[in-house]
């Protein structure tokens, strides 16, 4: 059995998600009350009853940037580890050594980055 054949039920399930959710929206559109006249206040962005000021998509401070940078590196690492972990039974023992060196390098880098992340002025 090829990979596409085993993934086919998953794709049908995703399609069934559309079939199950879109009619709910259509029925809600049909039976829900509609606006008789246009009231601009009703369609304002929610700001706790105040008249909204400025744009909705505001500028924001890019906080915790160090974590974002670390995430880009270490998220890829985890998937590399899966390739190793799934085949660990069939591998000879000395193959684990390079992985441990790899983990040590990344762990040291992670520790250093965590140590630096407490210093705001560096990031």
């Amino acid at each position: 059995m090829g990979a596409s054949a085993s993934f086919e039920p998953l794709l049908w399930m995703l399609l069934f998600g559309v079939v199950a959710s879109v009619p709910a929206l259509i029925v809600a559109k049909m039976i829900a009350p509609r606006r008789r006249f246009f009231n601009p206040v009703k369609f304002m962005p929610m700001e706790c009853g105040q008249v909204p000021s400025g744009e909705g998509r505001t500028r924001f401070m890019m906080q915790y940037y160090s974590y974002v940078l670390m995430f880009v590196v270490f998220d890829v690492m985890t998937i590399f580890l899966y390739a190793w972990g799934a085949s660990l039974f069939g591998l000879p023992r000395f193959v684990t050594l390079p992985i441990i060196v790899f983990l040590a390098i990344l762990g040291a880098a992670l520790g250093y980055a965590m140590y630096l992340s407490s210093r705001r002025d560096i990031w």
């Binding site: 085993s6 369609f43 915790y64």
Partner: protein
């Protein structure tokens, strides 16, 4: 403006006739043509070599024994699996039960009563359940509410986000084995597929919040992104020992590897980290920063109303079922348990074997237990701050999951589990 006509008997008769006219029109112009097209042009389904035609269906009404050999092939068909049992209807029902259990259980923890009146006196057996029809009332309320799209919103993304969330949740439940042989998509890398589908949720949240063109949803979406950064790596690393011990990426294979002992006994740290990160993934209370209702109105859900909100909640609770089921599958042995339930037989034909009924029973019980534990955590904990979550995720949870990986490798190489070369 609609004019309200006077209520007289002739007006009443007129309105009834008018209704009858429309029903007849719809039946004759839409329903009957569809029926004829289906009967004439759609080939009848063939199950187990028997063609299911209308005559056979009518025969089954008077003589159900005819249909008994066809039940099991129907249960095995892909449509039944997707639509009903391990698929969508089962998950949605489980989600509904979870919503009700959560409301009652949380109310008990907070010394309240919870939903009480709706449906209490509808049935004689409903008296002890107390208010279980509240869910139907809520559903009707959500269906009947106007969907307001804020001005300046990105309309296609705004409408698509709830549907995408439901699709991703449906994809999750397609991958989880419920009983031996009862899984919709038995993929050999289903664990990686689960992680891929879990990645859809925060991205959709970010898109929905950006499409809302409002400040609170935008803040909530950014918080969802930071939350993703803090929990994703511990979540993936916490499952790595399971892959090492079971030596497979298939969820069915992982359950079958636990026939003797559950993996929670071997790697309890992994179960702890996975549970915490699952709470963060679900945006439940210690980590419900993206929808913190006391800080940023409702977070990224602020602008959603009516059925769009309902679909998002449905997707959330299906996701809660899926992650509880994933915890059960990975750490609590999935469907494994004593086979004590008898199989189901209809007119002497076996429909479900004993191992299947017991498997479904044990899986459901374990999953519900895990979900109740999540509700317990929700009822007893305050919300954490975002920097606390980030620091805890990066320094504590990742360290714990690395320790966990080393424990698994040590178990393997010391000969405790498996046959090391």
């Amino acid at each position: 403006m609609a004019t309200v006509s006077e209520f007289t008997f002739s007006n009443f008769i007129k309105s009834v006739l008018w209704l009858l006219f429309w029903v007849l029109m719809i039946v004759s112009l839409i329903a009957l043509p569809i029926l004829f097209i289906v009967l004439f042009y759609v080939p009848p389904p063939v199950i187990n070599g028997v063609e299911i035609n209308p005559y056979l269906l009518l025969t089954m009404l008077t003589n159900p024994q005819v249909g008994a050999p066809l039940i099991r092939p129907t249960l095995d068909s892909l449509f039944f699996r997707i639509a009903v049992f391990p698929g969508f209807t089962f998950a949605a029902l489980f989600a509904t039960v979870l919503i009700f259990a959560e409301r009652k259980f949380l109310a008990k923890m907070q010394l309240r009563v919870g939903p009480y009146h709706a449906g209490r006196e509808a049935f004689w057996w409903a008296n002890s359940l107390g208010g279980f029809l509240q869910l139907i009332a809520d559903l009707l309320k959500l269906l009947g509410k106007e969907i307001i799209v804020p001005s300046g919103a990105d309309k296609p993304i705004f409408w698509a986000a709830p549907v995408v969330l439901v699709i991703a949740a449906a994809g999750l439940i397609a991958l989880i084995p419920v009983a031996p042989g009862w899984v919709i998509a038995d993929i050999d890398v289903s664990l990686l597929a689960v992680f891929a589908l879990l990645g859809f949720f925060p991205l959709t949240v970010l898109l929905a919040s950006y499409a809302s063109n409002s400040k609170y949803p935008f803040i909530g979406g950014l918080r969802a992104l930071y939350q993703l950064i803090s929990y994703e790596i511990p979540l993936i690393l916490a499952v790595l020992p399971i892959v090492i011990l079971a030596s497979t990426l298939s969820l069915t294979g992982i359950v079958e590897a636990q026939y003797a002992y559950w993996f929670i006994l071997l790697v309890p740290i992994g179960a702890f980290v996975f549970f915490i990160t699952a709470l963060a993934e679900l945006e439940r209370i210690p980590f419900d920063l993206p929808e913190a209702e006391s800080e940023i109105v409702a977070g990224w859900l602020t602008e959603y109303s009516g059925m769009t909100y309902g679909l998002i909640q449905l997707a959330n609770y299906i996701k809660m079922y899926a992650l509880s089921a994933l915890f059960t599958t990975l750490f609590l042995g999935g469907w494994m348990g004593p086979e004590f339930l008898p199989g189901v037989e209809v007119f002497g034909v076996e429909v479900l074997s004993s191992s299947e009924t017991s498997g479904i029973f044990w899986f459901t019980i374990k999953t519900f237990g895990v979900a109740l534990f999540m509700i317990l955590v929700r009822g007893t904990n305050p919300r954490v701050k975002i920097d606390v979550l980030l620091r805890a995720g990066w320094s504590k949870l990742i360290a714990l999951s690395f320790i966990n990986v080393f424990i698994a490798v040590a178990l393997l190489y010391l000969g405790v589990v498996g046959v090391g070369p």
